[in-house]
């Protein structure tokens, strides 16, 4: 039986869903009129980019970058560890993304209070 390249299939799945999430989020940001929907699109783009970063840092047959008590020797031989730098970056990016989403949503609430609508095509006046 010939060996199936599982990583090829996994790469289609992971890269495909990451690029798909970015495109779907971009579509929502550009096409939708409701402000909450636009923020949902932004958070979908955020999720896609995080997935792309983690997928770039992955290494075949790798383990999580956490040493066990015997793990000191793994530096020389044994299974490789995945790249820790993208993971640390994404850890930061998720927390910052929450802050960005919170501030954006508070602006949505503020706009709704003033204009009584949250649709950008119904907001007529520029002044608030």
């Amino acid at each position: 039986m010939d060996t199936i390249d599982y990583y090829q299939i996994m790469s289609i799945g992971v890269y495909g869903s990451a690029i798909g999430l970015i495109l779907i989020g971009l579509y929502a940001v550009l096409m939708k009129k409701h402000l909450t929907k636009i923020v949902i699109g932004l958070s979908i783009i955020d999720a896609g980019i995080n997935l792309l970063f983690i997928a770039i840092g992955y290494i075949s047959n790798g383990t999580a970058p956490i040493y066990s008590s015997q793990g000191i020797d793994l530096v020389k031989t044994g299974t490789p560890m995945v790249d820790p730098v993208p993971q640390a970056l994404v850890l930061t990016a998720i927390v910052i993304g929450f802050g960005v989403t919170a501030v954006a949503l508070s602006l949505v609430i503020r706009l709704y209070r003033h204009h009584n609508t949250a649709r950008i095509d119904q907001i007529k006046s520029l002044k608030w």
């Binding site: 799945g13 999430l21 779907i24 979908i44 999720a47 949503l105 949505v108």
Partner: protein, 101 residues
Amino acid sequence: MLFYTIVLIILAIILLGVAIYAVVQKDLLYAVIATGVISLILSVFFFILQAPDVALTEAAIGIALTTIIFIITIRNTSRMEDEMPLDHEPNSESDNQVETK
């Protein structure tokens, strides 16, 4: 490896389907819950890709906190995406003006 590959392909299909649902759904409450499901599936993805720290962060922040602040926003604004235009003027009395005292 075979197991992970099958799980990942199935989850990728569900992920894209849920993302499209979150964008096209007119009722924003359903759309927000769908974004929570996106975060949940991404958390499993991060675990499969050997990033348990990121998976834990996504589970705590992406699923619980982001969803709840979206729901609070919907409580304070409108729930349906294509709401009817309101016929009265925007009022500045109800806006939160800082009173000078």
